[in-house]
Assembly symmetry: C2
């Protein structure tokens, strides 16, 4: 449970990192935007890197929880794929800044954290892959395109969302989620 000050710092950092990039954003800028002081920032975070990592952690945690919940519903392969994509697209659309930072600054993770992260992403990737493969094995999905390529495409699309999705655009996140799910499922027929 983050304090109000901590939350202000994270919010400001996400916004600035998303619009300028991590390195191009100074700690001074963050504290100014968050209306706190440097002392406050370094009271809550051990380093600028730590702050970045906290942003990642919040995002990954929530995405993994979503996926686990959907898998737990025990739906058919097609329905599971649709739900996973819909949940991913809508949650990403709601947090475009976090996702933009995440995608763009991933390489800044240190050795240890990168290892942790890769393990978590691998788990995520393979859970999704298993759903597609099961659908193919059961004959619910076509096997023309290998399952791993399908998963790569599907997750890649979501990561690119921040590049073109605009909250004030014509399509609501839910609409978009539906279209993307339709397209991916069509490719699996």
């Amino acid at each position: 449970m983050p304090s109000a000050t901590e939350q202000k710092i994270i919010d400001a950092a996400v916004r600035l990192f998303a619009s300028q990039g991590y390195d191009a954003t100074s700690v001074q800028e963050i504290v100014k935007a968050a209306e706190v002081t440097k002392g406050a920032l370094y009271h809550y975070f051990r380093s600028k890197d730590d702050l970045l990592f906290e942003i990642y952690r919040l995002l990954i945690t929530s995405q993994s929880a979503d996926m686990d919940r959907i898998i737990g519903l025990g739906l058919s392969a097609a329905e599971t794929v649709r739900e996973i994509l819909a949940s991913l697209v809508t949650s990403t659309a709601e947090r475009v800044d976090e996702t933009a930072v995440f995608v763009r600054e991933l390489h800044r993770l240190g050795e240890d954290r990168m290892t942790d992260f890769r393990a978590e992403r691998r788990r995520y990737h393979e859970t999704f892959l298993a759903v597609v493969e099961k659908g193919q094995a059961d004959g619910e999905f076509s096997s023309v395109v290998p399952a791993d390529t399908v998963v790569r495409i599907a997750l890649g699309v979501v990561n690119q969302l921040p590049m073109w999705f605009r909250p004030d655009g014509q399509k609501t996140p839910a609409q978009l989620a539906g279209e993307i799910a339709d397209f991916v499922l069509a490719g699996l027929r």
Copy 2:
């Protein structure tokens, strides 16, 4: 026609920007890796930003030329989409570093260059879009998923390629290009 020195600088910069990011790479590092001096770098490029932009320019120019060439062949919609994707995927696979830098550091473009870039990307996007829309109008493609979403998905996948494609992996660029084209076309049936 860039001189040998100029080329060495660009190559080194691409490699370093791709692995560490633009801001995290100092001009000192670049000249050291390129085995030239700062004087040489600032003889050919007006600023570090200029160097980055030159990398963009080379990539965009070649991609646009590829697309124009394919459109000029006058193939069917399906064949055109397949060729565009195949060409994009293989050329991106051959230049993962450039593409990684491009995707990651886009936001660093200044006002003017960003405007130029958006115009060029818009042109690219709409040329592709026109092909898909024509295919849908002619009944060659399904219209279940709106053309603009299909184009976004297709181009998004390519931009994400550097995140997971490995030149020493199991799949050749050509194989991958085929699979991606298959999947996109399947979604258009």
